[in-house]
């Protein structure tokens, strides 16, 4: 073959490029969020993905919406109280559900819940990196949900604000005598027995792009 020197240079460049790639590595979730933060971070800053408990309740009643409630809390809290039809997926396990979430239909809405907002917000970022679903975060978390819907005799414990702001692991402020899980009345409040709340609806259905890849 004529001019093999150019071929050797080319081969060297390919080896160098691929070797450097092996060292630099593919982005992990945290790094990928850095890349996507510009686009999706706005939604966190302007609170457009934080939905009111009343909006979540209306989604739970809506037969036309395929609702997926992702509860990212630890198991003890999950056992104490959770929303009806919620699914518990700890943050570390989100990658395993990637394909399923990415394959949700166009009428699907994902709502991430935790006790407060810190853990659910982190999980939301991971979800967006992994699968970019039509996902929202429950504003104020389950603590706020219970504030709104839980009819109880005693007042809830005074919240320890510093604990809530400190990253993940905010505690469940409300106490329960029995670990009823999702069999609690407040797990799916009867809409006829709650005071109607005013809220700003934020959930929108997005048009699903069908990827027509492959050789026909």
């Amino acid at each position: 073959m004529k001019c093999p020197r150019a071929a050797y240079w080319g081969a060297a460049m390919l080896l160098l490029a691929s070797g450097a790639l092996a060292l630099y590595g593919q982005p992990d979730i945290e790094r990928k969020w850095q890349y996507l933060a510009g686009e999706y971070g706005v939604r966190l800053d302007d609170r457009s993905v934080y939905i009111d408990p009343a909006e979540l309740l209306s989604l739970m009643q809506d037969d036309y919406i395929r609702l997926l409630i992702v509860d990212v809390r630890p198991e003890p809290d999950w056992n104490l109280f959770r929303l009806r039809y919620a699914e518990r997926i700890p943050i570390e396990e989100l990658p395993q559900h990637r394909a399923r979430i990415a394959g949700l239909p166009a009428n699907a809405v994902v709502v991430v819940v935790s006790n407060g907002e810190a853990l659910s917000t982190r999980a939301w970022k991971h979800l967006m990196v992994l699968a970019k679903p039509n996902a929202y975060i429950l504003e104020g978390g389950l603590n706020h949900w219970l504030d709104v819907y839980h009819q109880r005799k005693e007042q809830p414990r005074e919240s320890d604000r510093s604990q809530e702001l400190e990253g993940d692991g905010e505690p469940l402020r409300h106490t329960f005598k029995l670990a009823l899980g999702d069999r609690h009345r407040t797990s799916f409040p009867d809409p006829h027995h709650v005071n109607p709340r005013q809220y700003e609806p934020k959930v929108k259905l997005i048009k699903k792009v069908v990827k027509k890849g492959g050789c026909g």
Binding site: L14, L21, Y24, Q26, K32, Y35, A131
Partner: protein
């Protein structure tokens, strides 16, 4: 915004079609310019007289692969949104074997036969007619073995996942493999057929 993009949303139907037409145009142009409209050149790969098929195919794969994964590393492209052919292992292998036989009998593959037909080669045209016939026959017979055709579905399985290695490492190994093949095949060709072109 991170690639890949939704062309129809950005450019509309006609715009997207124009892009695909342009891509196909470039594809056909490069194939013809490399001589892949000639079945004899393609068949030569299997007698080690002409290694163009090996060189073009694997150079293209390596170059694209490196560009693709560097883009993902730098955050320009999202590999998770890229179409990775789902792995149906046995149908793929069986289909591949059949295609290998078809390749050496007919001297083309579907893409190159289109290029050959486009330059008015009669053998290319017959090949394309054959492909159409084969495709038709498949449509008529597949219901008879659809269980097999849908079997061994591993979904979106990538080599790194299968080998349990980091993506970057696999890219590097594939590059080394390709370069090794070029070197080895060239030596083999020279040994068998002497120094030609």
């Amino acid at each position: 915004m991170m690639a890949p993009w939704d062309l129809v949303a950005i450019l509309g139907d006609a715009g997207a079609w124009a892009v695909y037409l342009a891509i196909g145009f470039a594809f056909g142009f490069v194939l013809e310019s490399s001589g892949f409209g000639d079945g004899r050149k393609l068949a030569g790969q299997f007698y080690l007289t002409d290694l163009a098929v090996l060189k073009v195919m694997f150079t293209a794969i390596v170059v694209c692969m490196i560009l693709l994964f560097w883009s993902t590393a730098l955050g320009w492209l999202d590999y998770d949104d890229v179409w990775v052919n789902p792995t149906y292992l046995w149908p793929g292998v069986l289909g591949g074997l059949i295609m290998g036989v078809g390749f050496i009998l007919g001297g083309y593959c579907p893409g190159t036969s289109l290029v050959s037909m486009a330059t008015l080669k009669v053998d290319g045209a017959f090949f394309v007619a054959g492909v159409a016939t084969g495709v038709f026959l498949f449509g008529e017979t597949v219901s008879g073995f659809s269980d097999f055709w849908y079997s061994t579905d591993y979904g979106r399985l990538t080599l790194p996942e299968w080998l349990g290695l980091e993506t970057g490492v696999v890219v590097f190994l594939v590059t080394c493999l390709a370069l090794l093949m070029f070197w080895g095949a060239t030596r083999l060709r020279r040994a068998l057929h002497g120094d030609g072109s």
